[in-house]
């Protein structure tokens, strides 16, 4: 509505800049959406919605500034506004599967299951990845978010504060609590894999 007042780009210029600056973020953005929604269709919708909003407000985006952080922020807000309502639950996680795994693990670590396994083999690496993913998925979405932003996407605390609209101090304490919680969840698993200290 008020777009006439913004600095005007021709449609061609706008489209070209949009493609050059924002579309390269598609991969990390989709991954972030997936880690938030834990559903491929929802991630798809969320990313589409994010890009539509970004296009609509593209005149407000300053060229050369952090496009990735800007898009992550839009996506995070869309997620809070719409997807959270939709799925009352913080995340669709198959808890029974996770529980099942941990329960069978109660046998105590003296069975030495993992000691003969070559930690470098591809299947073991995959296994670790799966385990990390399921532990992460059981965290509340706020915790999951800071871990993804920091450890997977490499955002700085300052960027995270902007994306999430919270003070840096809150970023720090949330990250701290998120990691403690993740650590707890992974501890049992770590023991069976010989990461015991």
């Amino acid at each position: 509505m008020s777009e006439q007042t913004g600095k005007q780009l021709s449609k061609e210029e706008k489209d070209a800049r949009f493609e050059a600056e924002l579309l390269p973020v598609l991969d990390p953005l989709y991954n972030f959406a997936y880690r938030l929604t834990l559903d491929e269709d929802d991630a798809n919708d969320l990313v589409q919605e994010t890009y539509l909003k970004a296009y609509r407000f593209f005149d407000y985006f300053e060229q050369g500034t952090n496009a990735k952080a800007w898009l992550f922020r839009i996506l995070k807000n869309s997620f809070i506004n719409e997807f959270r309502k939709k799925s009352k639950q913080p995340a669709k996680v198959d808890y029974s599967e996770v529980e099942g795994y941990y329960n069978t693990d109660d046998v105590e670590g003296d069975s030495g299951v993992a000691t003969t396994t070559d930690m470098r083999s591809e299947s073991v690496q995959d296994l670790i990845g799966d385990e990390v993913a399921s532990a992460l998925n059981t965290l509340p979405v706020d915790f999951r978010t800071v871990i993804i932003l920091c450890d997977l996407e490499g955002f700085t605390y300052e960027e995270m504060a902007k994306i999430l609209d919270i003070p840096i101090g809150t970023v720090r304490s949330r990250l701290h609590r998120a990691r403690n919680s993740l650590k707890e969840k992974l501890e049992k698993y770590a023991k069976t894999m010989g990461y015991n200290s």
Binding site: K11, D15, F18, E19, L23, L26, D27, Y30, N31, Y34, E40, A43, N44, V47, Q48, Y51, L52, Y55, Q125, D126, I128, G129, D130, V132, A133, L136, I147, I148, C150, D151, L152, G154, T156, Y157, R172, L175, H176, R179, L182, K183, L186, Y195, S197
Partner: protein, 93 residues
């Protein structure tokens, strides 16, 4: 007398426990995330040279971060998504 004693006793843990361990624990995230200042790094590194506990905690924190950055699989973006986005934009504008 008694109250003075308990007062002192209560004060003790916070200070005595220290040798900087508590500060070092607070710096763990900053260190693994590369957010610590030069001064904080210096303090941290000096401390873990002498403190086995904190040294181990640092190792664990690095390991945890590495598990996410190194082992969490990235999902593959559906091939059609970029096209769908471009098409939708043209439709709605």
């Amino acid at each position: 007398m008694e109250s003075k004693f308990t007062e002192m006793y209560q004060k003790e843990p916070a200070e005595e426990n220290g040798n900087g361990c508590e500060q070092v624990i607070n710096l763990l995230d900053l260190m693994v995330d590369g957010e610590a200042s030069a001064e904080e790094q210096h303090f941290f590194n000096k401390h873990i040279e002498e403190c086995v506990n904190c040294f181990e905690n640092h190792q664990k924190q690095k390991l945890l971060k590495g598990l996410i950055s190194g082992h969490l699989k990235r999902v593959i973006v559906p091939e059609s998504l970029a096209q769908t986005i471009k098409a939708k934009i043209q439709e709605t504008i």
